[in-house]
């Protein structure tokens, strides 16, 4: 952080910013004059001096490359202007120049704390354009739900860990990061990659669950509960924590809707809206879970909502493991991809021996999945909020235009509304409670 502009505070002579600082010499008449002026006027003079402080783009509390230009009056923020775009890579432009399948790895790099959820969101959007979202085999739907919920747990663990660490509670960070490592192990087992998973494909997933994965997942779910309890013991009724986050940056219901917030930030303000319930996709209809909401809309509520969402995700994961068609090792050979050779790559053995499959393989790889002309919007309940893809297709294997509605981008736009009036030291808490990712914000 560097003070860009600093004006000396002059209490004596009547001075305003822009008039130049005229500091009266001691014992001069000006001082005598000033002392006779009412105290309120002097206070107003002091308050009119503002300092502009540049926070970021490389600041530990901005979790990436967010820059905020703060205008301070003493320790109180009077104006905040977020500056985004430092991580802009032009994903939407890139998407227009490649096939639908080729874009899947780019979705990993949107919200890079929950790549599995992004993969699921993107695949569902393209499938909606193709009109095959209802044809997805049940096993595939359950696998995808498990992926999305694991990503939610992982993302919230990081969100709360970093939030707490920024406010000085390093123990929480260590606890949650330990658990995230296990989610990475699970992601590695299904996709081969810990971080950039690219697990889904248009019309299915890359491959079925490996043997023993569901038991590993259940073990993780069971192990996470005591850790969550410990985190709650460390934070929820901790006097220091509560004092720092309660009644801070209250977002009213009206503001939350007006600014288009989504995910835990919207629900923290007391609006019961979750796309998994409001527009059920995949097999969420068959699963039981609750939507936690806040009552005040402060940073404390947003923290509580995330804690409860993790518990609900574990509930969903347990149900998925119990109900997944084909069971743990898929003895009954349930399919995980749609049965359409023009959408999903055929098995390699058939490509080598059958003419039709060879043609399908060739067409899919060179031209991409042939999508009909039309436009769709699909919103997915990602850990950070609603990740939406607007795809405008003119037919063929590449989108004509693809807009990514990223939750972090929209959630950050409320900063200039909620920052003024807060203390400088509260910025860290508010940013932590908003839980954003710049990779997704800047695209």
């Amino acid at each position: 952080m560097a003070a860009k502009e600093h004006k000396e505070v002059c209490v004596g002579e009547h001075s305003r910013p822009g008039c130049g600082s005229v500091r009266p010499a001691p014992n001069s008449n000006a001082v005598a004059l000033a002392s006779s002026r009412p105290a309120a006027e002097e206070l107003q003079d002091a308050q009119s001096e503002r300092m502009v402080l540049n926070m970021g783009p490389s600041h530990p509390a901005t979790h990436g490359v967010l820059r905020i230009v703060l205008e301070l009056d003493g320790e109180i923020i009077t104006k905040a202007d977020p500056d985004v775009g430092y991580l802009h890579r032009g994903d939407e432009k890139i998407a227009e120049n490649m096939t639908y399948t080729q874009f899947i790895p780019y979705t990993d790099r949107l919200d890079y704390l929950a790549p599995l959820a992004n993969n699921v969101a993107y695949a569902l959007a393209v499938e909606k354009l193709l009109g095959i979202e209802k044809d997805l085999p049940p096993r595939c739907q359950y696998i995808r739900v498990m992926c999305a919920e694991l990503a939610r747990v992982s993302s919230h663990l990081l969100g709360i860990g970093a939030f707490a660490m920024d406010l000085g509670a390093v123990t929480v960070f260590l606890l949650t990061f330990n658990e995230r490592e296990k989610v990475y192990n699970l992601a590695e087992a299904i996709s081969g990659a810990r971080f950039t998973t690219s697990y889904t494909r248009i019309g299915g997933v890359m491959r079925d669950l490996p043997p023993g994965w569901t038991e590993q997942c259940r073990k993780f779910c069971n192990e996470l509960v005591p850790v969550l309890n410990e985190v709650e013991t460390l934070l929820t009724r901790n006097r220091i924590w509560v004092d720092r986050v309660r009644d801070l940056a209250v977002i009213s219901k009206e503001d939350a809707i007006d600014y288009g917030l989504s995910g835990p930030n919207l629900r923290g303000s007391g609006i019961e809206y979750d796309l998994r319930k409001a527009q059920p996709y995949l097999c969420y209809k068959d699963l039981e879970f609750d939507i936690p909401i806040g009552s005040v809309g402060d940073c404390y509520d947003r923290y509580l909502v995330r804690m409860e969402e993790m518990r609900q995700s574990l509930r969903i994961l347990h149900q998925c493991i119990d109900k997944i068609p084909g069971g743990a090792d898929n003895k009954s050979n349930e399919p995980v991809n749609v049965a359409d050779g023009k959408i999903v790559l055929p098995p390699k053995q058939k490509v080598m021996t059958k003419m039709e499959e060879l043609i399908h393989q060739f067409m899919l790889v060179t031209e991409g999945v042939n999508c009909p002309p039309g436009e769709i919007y699909f919103g997915h309940e990602n850990p950070k909020g609603e990740l939406g893809f607007y795809i405008n297709s003119r037919g063929g294997g590449t989108p004509y235009r693809m807009k990514i509605r990223s939750p972090s981008f929209v959630n950050l736009s409320i900063i200039s509304k909620i920052f003024p009036g807060c203390l400088m030291s509260d910025t860290v808490a508010i940013l932590g409670s908003l839980d954003f990712v710049m990779g997704e914000c800047d695209r």
Binding site: L129, Y273, Y390, R401, V410
Partner: protein, 192 residues
């Protein structure tokens, strides 16, 4: 009430300005004939029909067609999660339409992004600056006539005017020779 019925209500109110609702994959789209009336339509949708949540605004560049720009608004009622897509067209000469920031505050950043990426201006926007690119960047990169690999420029200190810092350096396996535009394998020149 379904999205189709809401679309018909808007059509009943504004008559010929609104096109017949079209349905694709269960989504209802209506087209507004005159972009100048967008605020009026949005205000009606929000105040009378309770479309209180603006999901997204996007823009499409119909390069080589007239009108060139399509602005797409995604409206939602949080009460029953009913969604409606509202589209309007803007010609290239005009490249301007009224801002809906007075209706939904979230439009602020979406409109800034459209201005930044495509160069369509929003009249009445409180703070129409670039948002993802930096102040002073000379192009609108999401336009179809902007090549994927970028463009060179005479403006000093802007990307693509100089070789990249590591170009030809120790970690680059295939150094130099071609510039970024020629090296980009997926590039398709929109002019050709």
């Amino acid at each position: 009430m379904s999205a189709l019925e809401f679309a018909k209500k808007i059509k009943a109110k504004f008559g010929d300005l609104i096109s017949e609702p079209t349905k694709f994959r269960g989504e209802i789209t209506i087209q507004l004939g005159d972009a100048e009336r967008i605020v009026e339509v949005c205000e009606f949708a929000k105040k009378e029909l309770d479309f209180n949540y603006l999901v997204d605004i996007s823009s499409v560049d119909n390069y080589g067609e007239d009108p060139r720009w399509t602005i797409v608004y995604h409206l939602r009622r949080l009460a029953d999660s009913c969604e409606l897509r509202l589209k309007t067209s803007v010609s290239e000469e005009k490249s301007e339409l009224p801002s809906v920031t007075t209706v939904w505050k979230t439009a602020n950043w979406h409109e800034r992004e459209i201005y930044d990426m495509m160069g369509v201006r929003f009249r009445g926007h409180p703070d129409l600056r670039r948002i993802l690119m930096w102040e002073g960047y000379p192009y609108f990169p999401l336009r179809k006539d902007f090549p994927l690999a970028g463009k060179t420029t005479d403006v000093p200190g802007v990307a693509f005017t100089q070789p990249a810092p590591l170009e030809g350096g120790p970690f680059v396996t295939a150094p130099g020779g071609k510039d970024a535009i020629e090296r980009e394998p997926r590039v398709r020149n929109p002019e050709s």
